[in-house]
Amino acid sequence: MRVALYGILFASLVFIFTGCGPKPEAAPKAFVFARGADAQKLDPADVDDGESVNTMAQVFEGLMAFRAGSLEVEPRLAESYSISADGLRYTFKLRSGVVFHDGTPLNADTARFTFDRQMDPDHPAHFPEASFQYWQNLFADIERVETVDDRTLRFHLSSPNVGLLATFAAFPSWLVSPGGFDKYGDKMAFHPVGTGPYRFIDWRPNEAVILERNPHYWREPAAGFERLVLRSIPLNTSRLSELVAGNIHGLDGIQPSELEDLAEDPRFEIHKGAGLNVGYLAFCELHERMRDPDLRKAISMAIDRENLVDLALNGYGSVAEYPAPEGMLGVPDDAGPIRYNPEAAKALVQANPQWLEKPIELATFGQPRMYFPDPQRIASLIRSDLEKIGLKVEIVNREFKSHLHISRRGEAEMVLLGWVGDTADPDNFLTTFFHSKSAVVGSALNVSFYRNPEMDALLEKGLTISDRSEREAVYGRILDLWARDLPLIPLVQGDQITVMDKRVRGYVLSPSGNHYFGPAFWKAEAADE
């Protein structure tokens, strides 16, 4: 008996060792994509992490959508839309013949479910634990939703908002099937039901989310892959090895320095583009010491940001000169107001010995983001820069979630964080960073807790103006205010890099960093057709 067992064991080992020949070249049925973390929840109203959004982007669709490869919006589940002259009424005409994955037909009633549950705190699908944070930030101006007829939905605003149309394409307003809520209740975040090109099959936490082609997709052609697997592989190096070994067909969050080797490999295609993001260092003004403008200035002069781009981003990115990406409305294309000047910084430190009483706390985190491929490296480099001018720094490293939590409560003196734009409007960055309404302890996105009525007024004004050059002037003044007060230092703007198997066609990078696999397909299949 024992002998037999060992025999089987030995035979299977031999089997394993010998059976590892090269893989067949035919295009596989499943497309496997790997990223650095698993999704958190698959409920568009209740997430804020890129991995969840990138999963939902295959399953859900909004009334509007970003045109492939750009941040221009076009109608998607809406057939057409109109905005009243005063900018206070948005009317959407819904597409007919669209069905959610569970068979629920799309009409004005099923469409408004998504908006009702976020607006109305007494709605049964307004879960007490969910944040609905984006609603508060993006849709604060929406007063009520009206069903005009079976195919028409109208939104009434309290004040005009230039950026609102784009937010109908952003993930918090992707349409969720009310049937999914009826079936799964408060577990609907684990069973996403949308209208998208792929439908949900299975979710194995920390391993993979498994999707399959939606055969009843309303649009032609249907999804390109029979099966779409989104794996989570935390280590950057493991992800890359799996790709090279041919076990996965695409990945993001690559260590940029490894691109050089990969670029020579004929099996892969590297999609690279400027990212719509800013990685920054925020000074939390809830702490006495950080309220000193001289300290903030000294730190801004001490950090060698070119060096961050070289060593932490390996050159795949650029120095962020302004708190909103270059090229956005009102953001100048120049060297910015911050200069690297360690001598001047050192002089400031020497004049202010009270800064040295205890080490300054610098909070960072572990998981790669588009703006910081390795946030711990950024922290280490900043520390050694600040030590050169005589400051003492203590790095506190946390998991990303705890880090966000600590930052939003303003518990650390300096915080490393970043923002990936949801829309191409500068307001998406600047209101997030500087408006006092986003400086609420606990849910702050303005993690500097910068409060300035003048800034608030300018930010609000910027949203109501529709004239381009007038708006540009307003954002110019906002940036001047920022340069004067320096509540945060923009550090880097990371490139977005996705590596794909060469046989995959139709995939386009989106400036917002989200992956839309709907239009992608295997090249081999295309040849058959």
Partner: protein, 354 residues
């Protein structure tokens, strides 16, 4: 467990039952000590786990959730309820992911066991096989590496071995996947959560093949430590003079080396080896955490480490307690088994003498 507690002399069924009863009482008492320890640790947690859960810090809402979870009750009520929940397998929901902790454990525990059980079995058999082979064949040169090997188990970090194996077999040779448990391009078999068992039951050869390939490197990494410890213990035992005398006597009777070493000696040393394996089960679980990290294995180790780092109340409370109970259970079981082996041996020897 302790040497001086060992029952000597002839044993009856009565005594075995008494022994079992005593072990059971001990087990229950220790369970309460352990659960209370975890409870105390959670009580002294500096952060409020609920405010971690709610992104919107409305004090009213936080108070509401605290009330609904019963976190405002006096500590003894919470402790008793916590124990009740644990025993009834009602483990609540993770504060971070919102998933039921029980279903999470149901996913992650089989993954860890699928790694740990082959790890310990292969490791122990390897250790035993090498040492016995060296002795039985008289190939003394085999022993030199064994000594080096058992020293290695105590001096080489397991995560480093894991990385080296990845570098060697996955990156340079490309024989095995770098990490993970399954290739989800293929449909994973469902059922018990043990992929090997499920794929055998469903006669899915390809799934079996995929799972085995993913298992090779992590199991190899994990098995080195038990192999080293077992080899070390065994080698020390075999050098005892009583065993040496026995071997000489058996050789004098003309028994073949295979029979001497494979049957008589193996039986003689199996008790201590089982004890060693049992007490190392805890260390093995510790090693499993590191192995899981290196190979991105979706197991209990990462689940609990993440739970602690995220201050995920119910994951810590029930997940950590479950691991402790499991480790205790294995130690107790191996202890009982080792005693049984010893006892059988003694009675047989007694019969032989009579």
């Amino acid at each position: 467990m302790e040497a001086d507690e060992q029952q000597a002399g002839s044993g009856s069924r009565f005594q075995t039952l008494g022994l079992l009863g005593r072990e059971l009482r001990r087990f229950i008492l220790i369970f309460f000590i352990a659960s209370f320890g975890i409870f105390l640790a959670l009580e002294s947690m500096p952060e409020d786990p609920i405010s971690l859960r709610v992104k919107n810090p409305d004090p009213e809402r936080i108070a509401e959730i605290r009330e609904s979870l019963g976190l405002n009750d006096p500590w003894y009520q919470r402790y008793v309820r916590g124990m009740g929940d644990f025993v009834q397998l009602d483990w609540g929901e993770s504060l971070i992911s919102g998933r039921s902790v029980r279903s999470e454990v149901g996913r992650f525990l089989p993954a860890t066991l699928e790694l740990a059980i082959p790890g310990i079995l292969i490791g122990a058999s390897l250790g035993i096989a090498v040492v016995l082979l060296a002795h039985a064949t008289g190939w003394r040169w085999l022993l030199q590496p064994v000594r080096g090997f058992s020293a290695m188990g105590l001096t080489v970090p397991i995560f480093w071995i894991g990385l080296i194996l990845i570098l060697l077999f996955s990156v340079w040779l490309g024989w095995f996947p770098v990490g993970g448990r399954f290739d989800f391009a293929h449909v994973a078999p469902k059922g018990s959560g043990f992929l090997i068992i499920d794929s055998i039951l469903q006669a899915d050869v390809e799934a079996l093949w995929i799972s085995l390939r993913h298992l090779v490197l992590p199991v190899m990494t994990l098995s080195l430590y038990p192999a080293a410890v077992v080899a070390g213990t065994l080698e020390a035992r075999l050098n005892q003079s009583s065993i040496q005398r026995l071997v000489t006597a058996l050789e004098a009777r003309g028994f073949s080396p295979l029979r001497i070493w494979g049957r008589h000696v193996l039986r003689l040393v199996s008790g201590p080896v089982v004890t060693v394996i049992g007490t190392q089960a805890g260390a093995l679980l510790g090693g499993a955490v590191l192995t899981e990290t290196v190979y991105s294995w979706p197991g209990m180790g990462r689940f609990i480490v993440d739970g602690v780092l995220h201050r995920d109340l119910y994951v810590i409370q029930h997940g950590l307690l479950l691991i402790v109970v499991l480790a205790l259970f294995v130690v107790t079981l191996s202890d009982l088994w080792a005693r049984r082996l010893d006892y059988q041996l003694k009675t047989r020897e007694g019969e032989g003498a009579a």
